[in-house]
């Protein structure tokens, strides 16, 4: 007791001023994220691409479907900065329109996949009785080949969805749902692992000992602590959804042939690789850039959100 009394009590005035600011998880993460150079570059590039496809068409008012046969195979000119295809359709307008679709698919499919993946992971990790069955279902889904399945489902549900939502919206919903519904498994595994680690910690025990109901423990305590891997998985999932849609369009499936997406533009342009390479280069470049940026951001977020990796 005496020794404790002797020691000089810390006064608030002695502390360095910046230490007084409370550090939230997010501000810490942001400070860490800024140190990841590639991720910062990726944020700017992605922002530029997203802004371009969203705002771009308001400035570049050329109709992506307008055919001007006399202007076909035009190189990169001031009238057509990205050139034109064999029917004289403006590639810049088509790339911007296609980008909206591709990005929308990526983000919506990601949201579906994250929702499902997190839910399954939480339940499997928290309830021992559900663990085995949910994880075996996950394994089963992992073993499903996505492309053949997509083809079959497209064939089965295309007409009914087309009737309800129209051809473009119908296919959009179909594609997004399937990509999302088949992309949740890695997230579920990841979340389950984290939940298993977190639920053994003292604060969960504390919460339980004061009689918190399961849902509050799950969503109030555990979910918050497994959120960072979910965010990282989300970025990767956007990238894979964009690529899956591109693969579908590349196979000539999915959206109607006159509805440009990046994958479809690539598919249509590939025949002209030797005549007007711009038709392939631009959509290809944007697919690669977007996926690369999203992956770098994911990488940066993983480093930033993991306290153990903080320097």
């Amino acid at each position: 007791m005496a020794t404790v009394a002797k020691s000089k009590p810390i006064k608030l005035d002695d502390v360095e001023p910046e230490m007084l600011k409370s550090n939230s998880l997010w501000s810490d993460a942001w400070r860490q994220f800024r140190k990841h150079k590639l991720a910062m570059i990726a944020v700017f590039v992605l922002f530029f691409i997203v802004a371009g496809v969203i705002i771009g068409p308001f400035f570049w008012t050329v109709d992506p479907e307008h055919i001007e046969i006399t202007e076909s195979y035009s190189g990169m000119t001031t009238i057509h900065p990205f050139g034109t295809d064999s029917l004289g359709r403006d590639t810049l307008a088509r790339v911007m329109f296609g980008g909206r679709v591709s990005l929308a698919i990526g983000i919506s499919a990601m949201l579906i996949a994250m929702f499902l993946g997190t839910l399954v992971g939480l339940l499997a990790g928290y309830y021992r009785s559900l663990d085995n069955i949910l994880m075996r279902i996950t394994d089963m889904f992992l073993s499903l080949p996505i492309l053949p399945l997509l083809l079959v489902i497209t064939l089965l549900f295309r007409d009914s969805l087309r009737k309800i939502f129209g051809p473009e919206m119908g296919i959009f919903i179909l594609t997004v749902t399937i990509i999302g519904a088949l992309g949740w498994m890695p997230t579920a595994r990841l979340v389950r692992g984290e939940v298993l680690a977190v639920k053994g910690q003292e604060f969960v025990l504390a919460a339980r000992s004061i009689g918190s109901p399961d849902y509050r423990i799950l969503f109030g305590h555990i979910l918050r602590n497994v959120f960072s891997p979910v965010i990282v998985a989300a970025t990767f999932s956007i990238a894979s959804a964009i690529i899956t849609e591109a693969a579908l369009s590349f196979l000539g499936l999915g959206f109607p042939p006159d509805f440009p997406t990046w994958g479809r533009l690539l598919f249509d342009g590939k025949d002209f690789l030797t005549i007007t390479p711009a038709l392939v280069i631009w959509p290809g470049l944007f697919i690669s850039l977007t996926v690369l940026c999203v992956n770098f951001i994911g990488d940066g977020l993983r480093d930033a959100l993991d306290p153990k990796m903080r320097k």
Binding site: I67, L87, D268, D271
Partner: protein, 578 residues
């Protein structure tokens, strides 16, 4: 000692493996270079029984194995194959009253299993195709045939129901080959679909036999050692017939990389082909036959709400299309199209604008529809306005009796066809017609699978586009495709060539009349009349008279582009330059 022997053994094993591997590679590559012919068809055959599939790809693939009595050569002349000569009035093979034709068969032909080929097999082929339970795709070749009879082992007498001025329908050309009775006698009628082994490995008299058939993928043929000219012909001992992919990569595989020796049906935009040929590895070969890229206009209602009645023809007209049977609509749709722009921009020298379903041979070509060559959007709009088909709800799309003119327009996946679709969609939008485009993988679209909703036969769309043609030079059986009895539907397993489901007794009467008319000029007049009916009734909207475009590697010799028969008709004569 034990250790030593183990070392010795493993050394020996390694040597054996290495030598073996090199040996195999060595022989395989020698074969690849010399005597293996690699053919690429970007639509893969699903069967070799041409009676079960009307597809060109199946007919060509089967022509290596199955032979008819006579074929057409590259100029459209008849050449005897299994017959000793072409029966004519002069040599007495055709009776004076034109009701019978007598084929004398060669007596030196054996089937690939070694058994002799006889007149009985010819009779069987007729019975096989005309069995009403089969739904034979080539039944039009047997129009008016009353009886086929084996006079003796090597003489076949065909009797027609009346005078048959052009009696070369049955057993002539790749569409009407001879099947072996011994092999197919248990596969008649409805059973034929399930005879997989027989349909994939038919016993034939041609230069090759099937070694392995993988449906919708690859066919491997080896030489038929019982072939009449063996071992002088054929030069190639193996043929790999690869299916699948798309036209553009098929062209590339021959013209740019030289992986394949021959590629068929290169419906690729001409500037691309031209650039590829400049590599000097292969040559583009083409010929104008009877191929016409056309829009098929569905006369029945394809509305998904109808369920099992979708695109099913009802004789009482109760299931007619809500607007495509209106003259103002189909005329306007045709008028809005600028065929010349399509031909010049997309086909170059491999296609010409046409207004006829039957553009060749010249005597059969109608000139009555040539006004369609000039695009007339204003006229089309005026026509629709006059007919009272106007936009009533202000959405830019016209309505007929409250049904908006929204068209689902499908075709096979092919960059050129998608461009044709885009052009037509734009022109139709200018006359207040909304078009939804759909493209379907070619192997599905032309696959003929009765379980798939996406085949061209099921036609679950308002308009579809593809190319059709006929082998030989006489259009009689081709024109009979569009008679009432040839309409596909669930009761025929969706077989039948009257894809647009048109039924007009007047047309059927013309078909019958042509079958009885002998004089060539009268026949031409009838053919023209039928062609005009098809076009003017809006059953089909012809677009482009297409040249057949294929490519061969420069060292492949003996290829004679044939637009009247199978392109592979003379494959026994193909050789490789050394």
């Amino acid at each position: 000692m034990q250790y030593f022997s183990f070392r010795k053994m493993s050394l020996l094993l390694v040597i054996v493996l290495v030598v073996g591997a090199f040996g195999v590679i060595g022989t395989a590559s020698a074969q690849d270079d010399e005597r293996t012919l690699n053919i690429l068809y970007w639509q893969a055959p699903s069967t070799l029984n041409v009676f079960l599939s009307g597809g060109t790809k199946e007919i060509h693939a089967a022509s290596l194995v199955l032979e008819p009595l006579a074929r057409y050569d590259q100029d459209g002349n008849l050449v005897p194959y299994l017959a000793t000569e072409i029966p004519t009035l002069e040599n007495g093979g055709i009776s004076e009253d034109l009701t019978t034709i007598t084929w004398n068969l060669r007596d030196d032909i054996v089937w690939s299993d070694g058994t002799p080929f006889t007149a009985d097999d010819v009779v069987f082929s007729w019975e096989f195709c005309t069995n009403p339970e089969l739904g034979c795709s080539q039944v039009q070749n047997f129009n008016d045939v009353e009886n086929v009879e084996a006079v003796d082992d090597h003489t076949v007498l065909i009797t027609f129901g009346g005078p048959k001025p052009f009696p070369y329908g049955p057993f002539v050309g790749a569409q009407s080959p001879i099947f072996q009775r011994a092999q197919f006698q248990d596969c008649v009628g409805a059973d034929a679909q399930s005879c997989t082994e027989e349909n994939f490995n038919p016993i034939g008299t041609g230069p090759y036999v099937v070694e392995e058939f993988r449906p919708n993928d690859v066919i491997t043929y080896v030489v038929n050692e019982n072939y009449r000219d063996f071992p002088e012909k054929p030069f190639f001992t193996r043929v790999n017939f690869k299916g699948g992919g798309d036209a553009e990569s098929a062209a590339r595989a021959v013209l740019e990389t030289g992986e394949f020796d021959y590629a068929w049906n290169l419906q690729v935009e001409f500037p691309i082909l031209q650039a590829m040929e400049a590599n000097g590895i292969g040559t583009i070969i083409s010929g104008f036959g009877t191929s016409v890229e056309r829009l098929i206009v569905n006369q029945t209602n394809p509305n998904p709400d109808l369920g099992d009645l979708r695109s099913v023809f009802e004789a009482d007209g109760s299931n007619a299309h809500p607007f495509l049977t209106d003259p103002a609509v189909y005329r306007a749709l045709s008028m809005a199209i600028d065929r010349n722009v399509m031909a010049e921009q997309l086909y170059g020298p491999t296609g010409r604008a046409t207004c006829n379903v039957l553009p060749a041979p010249a005597i059969y070509a109608s000139t009555n529809n040539d006004s369609c060559l000039v695009q007339d959007i204003e006229g089309a709009n005026a026509l629709l306005d006059e007919a009272g088909i106007v936009d009533t709800d202000g959405d830019g799309i016209r309505e007929k009796d409250g049904v908006p003119l929204r068209i689902l327009y499908q075709t096979s996946t092919n960059a050129l066809r998608q461009n044709e679709q885009a052009l037509i969609k734009q022109w139709w939008s200018e006359i207040g017609v909304d078009t939804e485009l759909r493209n379907i993988d070619a192997s599905v679209f032309f696959g003929g699978d009765p379980a798939s909703p996406d085949t061209y036969q099921k036609f679950y769309a308002d308009i579809e586009m593809y190319t059709n043609n006929f082998d030989g030079t006489d259009p009689e059986s081709y024109m009979s495709n569009w008679a009432c009895n040839n309409i596909p539907g669930p009761d025929t397993g969706w077989l039948g060539n009257n894809i647009q489901r048109s039924c007009d007794p007047e047309y059927d009467a013309l078909v019958e009349q042509m079958a009885r008319t002998a004089d060539l000029e009268d026949r031409a007049a009838l053919a023209i009349q039928m062609n005009d009916m098809i076009v003017q009734n809006g059953w089909m909207i012809p677009l482009i008279h297409r040249g057949a475009v294929s490519a061969r590697r420069n060292d492949l010799e003996g290829v004679l582009m044939n637009v009247w028969d199978s392109e592979l008709w003379n494959i026994a004569d193909w050789t490789r330059a050394s």
